[in-house]
């Protein structure tokens, strides 16, 4: 997983899965980088082949960290499974999905 800053956006690349095995690491690395200058988190989901409930919980955690800075979480190019799960649990109400 790679993190980079671009203007007011924190970009997350190279995730192949977001599950119980790496969700804590994801959370611990991303949350500290969210601040007033970088309130938007953009996750490239095109490479995410697997996500479970723990991974979905980690996305909520990131979303909550952006709220104090009027930020948001944007998921780019989610795979069909990720998109289906996001919609199934109504995360499309709080996360931005970009095809």
């Amino acid at each position: 997983m790679n993190l980079s800053l671009h203007e007011n956006v924190l970009e997350v690349h190279g995730l192949d899965c977001l599950s119980a095995t790496n969700s804590a690491d994801f959370r611990n690395r991303v949350r500290p980088m969210i601040d007033a200058q970088h309130p938007i988190v953009q996750v490239d989901c095109s490479t995410v082949r697997f996500i479970d409930s723990e991974g979905l919980g980690a996305l909520v955690s990131i979303h909550r960290a952006t709220i104090p800075h009027q930020g948001k979480v944007r998921l780019l190019h989610p795979t069909p499974l990720v998109r289906k799960l996001i919609e199934l649990i109504h995360f499309d109400q709080i996360l931005e999905l970009t095809p």
Partner: protein, 593 residues
């Protein structure tokens, strides 16, 4: 992680994969990936593969989350069976497990946890969690996606036919092994709702269950109606002995009382033995087993304890599931039985009250004799339940009349029967009609033994109408006072004194009072249902108010029938919408001017 293995002996008609994984997230994920690779060979769609991988991870992660230090050492076993139309996943873990909720809802969208079971439920057609002491089995099933493409070749159809044939044979074998359980369950289903002797039903059910679940004994207890005790209904086999009732508030430390208090399955084994004082120890020693408490509408119905004598092998998850199913049948039958008993008791009570009402009606005079210059009118109105009020009007050969009013303690058939006995006894002593005091004394002596034997008593007032002298001769055995309105004084007051009610003291003397009843005067004999009538605020009418009402009515110089009607209306007006709590009986007597 152990390499994939297959179990061709049991499920050879379907493709099956068994994987074992360590109890940690990483091993679960690896097992799910391995399973996905294997499933990919079964021509499943990409969507199916992705969702099945997720299901395996969610179930496996649940086991990891609930593992303890000890149970972390035991592998999680994944059994995946791919059939022609359905995929089944069984995940066996050895953790303490958790309670599978009856309804699985999504948590708040901002919550970081609690979506695993929702995903499992959403992505399967059937999800079941069998929880046992050292083994939990999650069973998931989902239909296979329909793949539209080229029609199958002849070879493919032959292969499928062979698989189906083999599947049928194996399913027949499986069904045979479950035959006993199915037959028993069908039989119990058919018996539900019928009025079956509960002990016979539970005998059969416990015997069946002992055999099917390979138990050695079973103890069924039912909660007492007040919920304070567990009473033994059945011990199977009956050769193992009997057990005393258990006090739920007592200090006996037993798995049955603990299960009843906590409403949870309580397990016992050589590692976690029963308390020494536990009645199950005296019955079956310290084997292993469990006790299950069952309830209906949050009310404890009873407990069932099952155990094995000599082995420390606990019941499997499937056996525990079967136990719960059988006990559910038992709980329904227990509740049915109690409802039927209550309904029967209510029918008996209704019938008894009807009999009592018939008796009471038969005691009342069909017509009222004339006794000029006196006239009278009567009322006997029953409350919801049949009470012990009655009155009688007896005309003598010389044209005089004896008025009787009585209130037998209690309600129902016993009170009605004593009223009948009292009526007959009075009528058998015509020689004493003109001496009410002596008559009461004789009646008391006649009935005293019978009344004492059943701890009952009767209040009675007798009034002998003496038309020749325009007076009343009265006596009372603990009854409400005779009220008399005198026109000259325009005042109502009580007349005479009273002795003990009948049945209290064997040799009681009853004072006799002579009260003039001049033309225009009115007297009232009544039972306490009149003077103790209550209004909606719960206030009593009282003797004083009753006397005032009588004065109001009497001074208008109405006929007895009208006076009776007005008195009824005034008492009803006082009571308002308050329910009549007791019978209301009175005799309105007037000297016609």
């Amino acid at each position: 992680m152990n390499p994939p293995s297959s179990n061709p002996t049991r499920f050879n008609y379907r493709s099956q994969l068994r994987l074992e994984a360590g109890c940690d997230y990483s091993a679960v994920r690896t097992a799910a990936q391995t399973a996905r690779q294997w499933l990919a060979e079964k021509k499943l769609t990409e969507n199916e593969l992705a969702e099945l991988e997720l299901l395996l991870v969610e179930v496996g992660n649940n086991a990891v989350k609930h593992a303890t230090t000890e149970t972390h050492k035991q592998n999680i076993v994944f059994d995946i069976t791919v059939g022609e139309f359905e995929i089944e996943i069984q995940v066996t873990d050895h953790t303490p497990g958790f309670d599978w909720p009856e309804q699985i809802d999504l948590p708040d969208v901002e919550s970081e946890h609690g979506r695993g079971l929702f995903l499992i439920q959403s992505l399967t057609d059937h999800a079941n969690y069998l929880r046992s002491r050292r083994e939990n089995v999650t069973v998931l099933r989902r239909r296979r996606a329909t793949v539209i493409g080229q029609p199958p070749s002849v070879e493919e159809l032959k292969r499928r036919l062979a698989e189906a044939d083999s599947a049928l044979s194996d399913m027949t074998a499986e069904l045979s092994s479950s035959y006993e359980s199915l037959v028993a369950l069908f039989r119990y289903s058919a018996e539900l709702g019928k009025h079956i002797e509960l002990r016979d039903f539970s005998n059969r059910l416990l015997r069946d269950l002992i055999q099917i679940a390979e138990a050695d004994y079973a103890v069924l207890r039912l909660a007492s109606p007040d919920g304070r005790r567990l009473e033994t209904l059945n011990v199977q086999p009956d050769t193992v002995g009997a057990l005393p009732a258990l006090n739920l508030a007592g200090d006996i430390n037993s798995v049955e009382t603990e299960a009843a208090r906590t409403r949870q399955d309580i397990w016992f084994s050589p590692e976690e033995p029963l308390a020494k004082a536990d009645p199950i120890v005296a019955l079956a020693g310290n084997g292993c087993g469990l006790c299950h408490a069952f309830s209906f509408a949050d009310q404890l119905v009873g407990t069932v304890a099952f155990g094995r004598f000599a082995t420390d092998k606990p019941f499997s998850a499937a056996q525990v599931n079967l136990l719960h199913t059988f006990i559910d049948f038992l709980a329904i039958q227990v509740v049915n039985s109690r409802l039927l008993d209550e309904r029967t008791a209510a029918r008996v009570t209704r019938r008894e009250l009807q009999i009592a009402a018939d008796i009471q009606r038969s005691l009342l005079p069909a017509t009222l004799p004339a006794c000029p210059p006196f006239e009278f009118a009567t009322v006997c109105q029953s409350a919801l339940q049949v009470g012990g009020d009655f009155f009688d009007v007896i005309q003598t050969a010389d044209g005089t009349t004896l008025l009787v009013i009585a209130d037998v303690m209690g309600k129902g058939v016993p009170a009605a029967l004593f009223a009948a006995v009292l009526r007959s006894t009075i009528r058998s002593m015509p020689q004493l009609f003109s001496q009410p005091g002596a008559l009461l004394e004789a009646i008391n002596q006649t009935l005293f033994d019978d009344l004492s034997r059943v701890d009952m008593f009767v209040t009675t007032a007798l009034v002998y109408l003496d038309p020749q002298h325009g007076r009343l001769v009265s006596a009372s055995a603990g009854h409400c006072p005779l009220l008399v309105w005198q026109p000259k004084a325009d005042a109502t007051g009580p007349a005479g004194n009273s002795g003990f009610p009948l049945g209290i003291e064997n040799h009681t003397k009853y004072p006799q009072t002579v009260t003039p009843l001049p033309p225009g005067a009115v007297a009232l004999l009544y039972t306490d249902g009149i003077s103790e009538a209550r209004n909606e605020a719960g206030e009593l009418l009282g003797d004083h108010n009753l006397a005032d009402i009588l004065s109001d009515i009497a001074r208008t110089n109405q006929r007895a029938q009208t006076g009776k009607k007005l008195l009824q209306e005034r008492v009803a007006a006082f009571s308002g919408k308050a329910a009549m709590a007791d019978d209301q009986t009175f005799i309105y007597i007037r000297h016609v001017q």
